[in-house]
């Protein structure tokens, strides 16, 4: 009856083992998060908490995690718990641990001060041992012992203060110094990633289920770190930029809301210098680019996917479009400066910037629109044709509405890119470093009707205009020494404004997409 026990669906007597493993996973997660926090400077490793330095505490945690993980492996190998390990941890794990231990061996040997040949040899030996330990024993040992040992080693190094707050390592050939407040979080995060993975495998009882749980934990921890990098980046700009953005901000009074940073220019007379001209410039640039690129891009996509014969021609267009999308923005800017500016009054102008950014946006709109149109099921086209509806009417009333969410996604992505472009604006739109409020383009009010061709003119489209990314760049190159108080604060406020403008465009795009999706499916 051995087969019956081997294939039992319910494993018994593992609740305490699973509980311990779950605790280890949780602890790994916490340690990983703390490591992440110290890396992005939210937490400091130096100040002692409850009499213990944070790095020492994390070292002890790592040490216990490492010992625990090795314990899980041993308990499973010695048969104290009912698990389903496979014969080997697998080639991927073996190669990964070989690399990890080669690096550890080489670093340790190098830190002790052995010569080139020696550290290489130590690394190779460590890697070979790790490979053997991972590949040859059963999976429960193979995936816990190498991982646990990394944590034990790292934990000992942190707990004993070998690597700690005061630690530094001069990397001679790189002309750089590695400090403890970088090294500690790196060690902590890496080791806790490994123990989390190994503990998750133990929790799942190794085998297919264990690998599944292990992969989940690994993916979650990596997603956590990616998210925290994003959040950290945005939070950094927000914290630095808020004082500038809200300088002189008040609610109440005559204007109800007074927000001088957004409504003032940067003149000497203004109490609070503001970014109004650049803000308006950026908004108009984006609007102009979208107005130019969306109709042309969608039109071209309709032609390529509905009318053109799929073949050599469409392939060439596709390659060309992809190439255009990856063309560096400075090249677009140069084109705008050399081709557009002579045709629009030989000055840097708003319209030259709009068109240049429109050219940049065009390929992405074309690519995503084309894909969105191709993704519309042929059943819709057939149904419409069978009702006797012509091709163009079908495209207009069935295909394009069904493709709108996809097209919007492309426009959102593209706007995110062009709103922050500096190089093309630098070359085509220009504008002052610290423009006064009167320098803001008034496009809507600028239209003038005349009796002679071209009948309608708009001087503000033909004037050089500042834009947020350009002004930021200009401020930095001007050494932040303009005629305003607290230029540093002004610049960070400017950066935050740019970020917010892009986010607002995103929000508009996402709301549009949501609206059309809802219309299609409800």
């Amino acid at each position: 009856m051995s087969r019956a026990t081997e294939t039992a669906l319910v494993r018994e007597g593992r609740s305490s083992y699973e509980g311990a493993a779950a605790t280890a996973i949780g602890l790994s997660g916490v340690v990983f998060a703390v490591g992440l926090g110290t890396l992005v400077d939210v937490l400091k490793i130096t100040p002692p908490a409850a009499g213990v330095q944070l790095s020492t505490a994390m070292g002890i945690a790592l040490l216990s995690l490492g010992v625990g993980v090795i314990g899980f492996g041993l308990a499973s190998r010695l048969g104290y718990v009912d698990t389903r390990p496979q014969p080997s941890a697998g080639i991927v794990a073996a190669v990964a641990f070989t690399c990890v231990w080669f690096a550890i061996g080489a670093l340790v040997a190098g830190a002790i001060g052995l010569g080139t040949v020696s550290w290489m040899a130590v690394g190779l030996v460590a890697g070979a041992v790790a490979f053997a330990v991972t590949a040859f024993p059963r999976e429960d040992i193979g995936s816990t012992l190498p991982a646990g040992s990394v944590a034990v080693l790292g934990g000992v190094a942190l707990a004993t203060g070998v690597i700690g707050p005061g630690w530094e390592w001069v990397l001679v050939s790189y002309n750089a110094t590695l400090f403890g407040d970088t090294a500690v979080p790196v060690v902590v995060m890496f080791a806790s990633l490994l123990t989390g993975w190994a503990a998750a495998k133990a929790y799942g009882g190794f085998g297919a289920r264990g690998r599944n749980v292990g992969a989940y934990v690994l993916i979650y921890l990596i997603v956590l770190s990616i998210l925290s990098v994003l959040v950290g980046l945005v939070a950094f700009v927000v914290v630095k930029g808020l004082p500038g953005l809200f300088h002189g901000f008040s609610i109440g009074g005559e204007q109800v809301i007074s927000w001088p940073f957004l409504t003032n220019g940067a003149s000497l007379l203004a109490d609070v210098a503001g970014v109004f001209p650049a803000l308006v410039g950026t908004v108009w640039l984006v609007i102009g680019a979208v107005l130019f690129a969306v109709p042309t891009g969608v039109g071209a996509a309709v032609f390529l996917s509905e009318y053109a014969e799929q073949g050599r021609f469409t392939q060439v267009v596709e390659v060309a479009t992809n190439g255009l999308w990856s063309t560096p923005s400075i090249v677009f800017g140069l084109f705008g400066a050399a081709f557009l500016i002579p045709r629009f009054g030989n000055n840097k102008s708003l319209i030259a910037g709009m068109l240049t950014l429109g050219f940049m946006l065009l390929p992405l709109v074309l690519i995503t629109s084309r894909e969105a149109i191709l993704a519309v099921p042929d059943e819709y086209r057939d149904a419409s044709a069978a009702l006797g509806v012509s091709k163009w009417k079908t495209i207009r009333s069935v295909v394009l509405p069904a493709a709108v969410p996809g097209i919007t996604t492309g426009v959102i992505l593209g706007v995110g890119r062009i709103a922050g472009e500096t190089a093309p604006i630098l070359l085509t739109t220009g504008g002052g470093v610290l423009p006064g409020k009167s320098a803001a383009p008034s496009v809507l009010g600028g239209f003038q009707v005349s009796a002679s061709p071209p009948f309608v003119t708009n001087p503000s489209l033909l004037e050089a205009t500042s834009a947020l990314p350009y002004q930021l760049y200009a401020l930095i190159t001007a050494g932040l020494s303009g005629n305003i108080e607290a230029p540093q604060q002004f610049a960070w406020g400017l950066a935050l404004t740019l970020l917010l403008v892009v986010l607002v465009f995103y929000a508009i795009g996402i709301a549009t997409r949501y609206y059309f999706r809802k219309k299609l499916h409800q």
């Binding site: 059943e379 009702l387 006797g388 012509s390 069904a402």
Partner: protein
Amino acid sequence: MSQTDPVDATDEMNRTAGQTISTTDGETAEETRSEWVDYDTGGKTKLAVKDLDVHYSDDHALKDVSMDIPEQSVTALIGPSGCGKSTFLRCLNRMNDRIRSASINGTVELDGEDIYQDGIDLVELRKRVGMVFQSPNPFPKSIRANVSYGPRKHGDIETGLLARLTGRADPESEEELVKRSLERAALWEEVSDRLEDNALGLSGGQQQRLCIARCLAVDPEIILMDEPASALDPIATSKIEDLIEDLAQDYTVVVVTHSMQQAARVSDQTAVFLTGGELVEYDNTEKIFEDPESQRVEDYISGKFG
């Protein structure tokens, strides 16, 4: 005209050399006889198909098919997969034109007018010959918009801002058309209180009846159905079958089906296509199912083949 061994010996005595058609790959399964397909439908002929021949690139999908389809009746097309029955159906409203590799020879006469002649108005043709597809394919729009889609696009109903401004908007006639079409498709009762809901929220059977209503809204004379119930459960299928029988009082219905029972239940006459794109037998449905002339048809119907 070469002839190899016949599959079925019992028919050998009836055979004369001139009536044998060999397939392109040289295998002659069994003869097809012109009198088996020369069925005099009795009623007024709505569609007269003569020597219809369809190739997809090198693939000979339909071979010299000729048949008359009488008006206000249900004609079932049955046969195994890949026998060309759907191809035949799609020739009747020129939907095969949409496949670039297809080349079509022969004539299809709708009320005596060849629909494959030059200068035919495809819009007008497809308004007169409607089609319902195998899997329900309503547009991702509201139920009302699905039904009124065809008339709107043809300009029979004017909606929108301009129509309202010029006083040509006629919400009552649209309302009435939607109601009439949905009632005719036996769907009105189920959806009358939620015409503005998205059609994709309906069940499969309801979606298919909506597609029928959408087709009826342009007021066709002929309705082509390509396995209209194959993606549906038995209850929805029986509703569609009832509907087909009912529609035959006013329309000429041509229905492709995989289900022999369905063909037997709903159709007045049945055409059997067998592998290779041949029309083997075309006759009164009762005759086909009870006493077919062709041995191969009998084998197919009794489930020995196909």
